[in-house]
């Protein structure tokens, strides 16, 4: 038996090919060709995605005259870090970064905590009107927040809970520009893309076997204790990835930040103003009436963008598994 196996292995490719009536050769060629095509495709697409970042990096180190030099394409001739200094100055980088980290972190934690509660409730309990409320979650995903933004805007401008504040102080509260509205919304699972998080977390909890839950009930755990001690530790991967998404999207979000958090210096808002700042800096401080040129503005904006995404890139490098693997293995299904 083993001898026959050996001779089969030793047989040359040509012989094996003949034995399979040419199928082996055909198959080898086909898989080889596909591998080659795949390498080209993947390389091309990866380059496509990475190119703008690489481009930004090289531009951010160029002096102004390099931008207009047709000979300089990706390697700067006059290497400089002035762009970074300027961009940091315009964005008030140190303070803004601290603010952004603080806000994104707290908001993401709050949102995920609330969404986990809701997701767990939808996944593991039977209660009347459950389908109706879940339909509401889907609605929440589908309704673009811009539709309700006008009303929210006024809602928080003249904030009041059943007229209590008006009774006490004679005036409604103006919550616009403070952090409070957004924390309130996060507390009610209504932040950026929170419907999606509820959906994904519910999906995960649904797949945990019922026996686990029943065993913990038999052993004397209450509902809350079961949730905290049995279910939460299991859900760590999906919670991590939801947290990461929430953190990152909050970091770059311009919509809610622009609407509610206008007075707090956040990276996403500062980044949008960097062009204007440069223009006024050049006309007012450097007394150059012509203002900033298009190319130079773009260069500074690119530098600013890099400054915004570098922390995220570092995070992504370390937590890449958390972003991708847990999500792609969780199995999202309708």
């Amino acid at each position: 038996m083993s001898k026959r196996k050996q001779t089969a292995a030793v047989k040359s490719f040509r012989e094996r090919n003949r034995a399979s009536h040419g199928y082996l050769l055909k198959k080898t060629v086909r898989t080889g060709a596909w591998k080659l095509v795949r390498v080209f495709l993947l390389f091309g697409m990866c380059f496509l995605i990475l190119q703008p970042i690489l481009n930004k990096i090289s531009i951010s180190f160029m002096a102004e005259e390099d931008l207009y030099n047709a000979m300089v394409i990706s390697v700067p001739e006059h290497f400089t870090t002035d762009n970074y200094q300027l961009a940091m100055q315009f964005m008030d980088y140190g303070k803004t970064l601290c603010n952004t980290v603080l806000v994104s972190l707290t908001i993401a934690l709050l949102q995920i905590a609330m969404c986990t509660l809701a997701g767990y409730g939808f996944a593991r309990f039977e209660f009347p009107l459950k389908n109706f409320w879940f339909a509401c979650v889907i609605m929440m995903i589908v309704i673009p927040p811009q539709t309700i933004s006008t009303s929210l805007h006024l809602h928080f401008r003249y904030f009041d809970i059943f007229g209590i504040f008006r009774l006490l102080t004679g005036e409604s509260l103006n919550l616009r520009g403070s952090v409070a509205p957004y924390y309130l919304m996060s507390l009610g699972c209504m932040g950026l893309k929170n419907g999606l998080y509820i959906f994904m977390i519910r999906q995960f909890f649904r797949n945990i076997p019922k026996e686990l839950e029943e065993a913990s009930y038999v052993d004397g755990c209450g509902t809350l204790k079961t949730f905290l001690r049995i279910m939460l530790p299991d859900a760590k991967p999906i919670l991590t990835s939801c947290f990461l998404f929430s953190f990152v999207w909050q970091w770059t979000d311009g919509f809610y930040s622009g609407m509610f958090l206008g007075n707090i210096k956040l990276l996403s808002i500062q980044l949008q103003m960097i062009g204007e700042r440069l223009g006024s800096y050049i006309t007012n401080t450097l007394h150059n009436a012509a203002g900033a040129s298009v190319g130079y503005t773009n260069c500074i904006v690119a530098t600013g963008t890099l400054l915004v995404i570098v922390p995220l890139l570092v995070l992504y490098l370390f937590a890449q598994k958390g972003f991708v693997e847990s999500l792609s293995s969780s199995g999202i299904k309708m």
């Binding site: 309990f125 809602h155 309708m334």
Partner: protein
């Protein structure tokens, strides 16, 4: 006849704790979704005056809606542009992300790296960064410079000129070439969709493919007879996600106009009306297309 039984004991207790778990969601939903939703619908029918200490809304019927379509010079044009861009891009994103997910699901060297790169746009194209990316004039001027130096002969350009001068279905070709030119937009907008498809592909059991192999299926047949039906429900999910995502993008011109009208001009009524027109069109689009797609969805149970 269904027996009406009052939930008792454990069942009732569980129902109560279930409600407690989703209570924050319910409260939030009522306060920050339902109320603003109807309020903004009402505001779209009013002219809203903002004064110190409060705002007043005066009912004026459909005036804001007629203004959006007949008086305002930009809105109708922007709406058509955005919606058609959305449809074309959404289709391209679906095809692209499905294709990429198929490739990324195969085993090859450096897969982890390639995956990491493909999901990078989830971070990099989110929020404000996309809008800034978009008007990067320098990048396009550099590209123009490269184009000129290479004598303007890229493969797509050559193909484009041949096919369009051939004159058959020039319009259709133009759309395809626009997509090819905008492949970067498609690539950076399909991060989440790839993850969703990938997660679906990984749940298909290997047994099915083995059975198909034994029966002598080619890979092409396996794609259409196994892979496609098994993840067809995800097409629906992805389609809806893509459209909704498009509404949230910061380079969406209709949304830009709406927030400008609201924040700069303080014209809340008109802004609400425009938002509702957009929302109405999108929801009809989602409804119709999901109805069509869900007919083709195959549920394996």
């Amino acid at each position: 006849m269904k027996k009406i039984k009052k939930a008792t004991g454990l069942k009732r207790q569980k129902a109560i704790s279930g409600y407690l778990f989703i209570l924050p969601f319910i409260l939030g939903f009522l306060a920050f979704m339902v109320k603003p939703f109807f309020q903004s619908l009402y505001m779209s029918l009013c002219s809203v005056e903002v004064g110190p200490g409060g705002f007043r809304s005066l009912y004026q019927g459909l005036a804001n809606y007629t203004r959006a379509f007949t008086v305002d010079t930009e809105f109708a044009r922007l709406l058509v542009e955005e919606i058609s861009r959305m449809c074309v891009n959404a289709l391209a994103i679906m095809v692209f992300s499905f294709f990429v997910a198929l490739i990324l699901n195969q085993k090859f060297k450096g897969r982890a790296l390639v995956r990491a790169i493909f999901f990078l746009p989830v971070i990099l194209s989110s929020g404000v960064i996309l809008g800034i990316e978009y008007d990067n004039a320098l990048l396009s001027s550099v590209q123009d410079a490269i184009m000129e130096t290479t004598g303007n002969t890229s493969i797509t350009n050559a193909l484009e000129s041949i096919l369009i001068t051939a004159g058959v279905g020039a319009q259709a070709f133009q759309i395809v070439f626009d997509i090819v030119d905008g492949i970067y937009d498609v690539a950076i907008a399909s991060g989440i969709q790839i993850i969703i498809f990938l997660s679906g592909l990984q749940t298909i059991s290997v047994n099915m493919y083995e059975a198909a192999d034994i029966e002598g299926c080619t890979s092409w047949e396996k794609l259409w007879k196994i892979t496609f039906p098994m993840i067809s429900s995800l097409f629906l999910v992805n389609w809806i996600y893509t459209i909704v995502d498009f509404c949230m993008r910061s380079d969406n011109q209709v949304m830009e106009k709406i927030s400008d009208t609201m924040i700069v001009n303080l014209d809340y009524g008109f802004a609400s009306a425009m938002a509702w027109v957009y929302f109405g069109i999108v929801i009809v689009l989602i409804g119709v297309s999901s109805a069509i797609i869900s007919k083709g969805v195959y549920y394996y149970e």
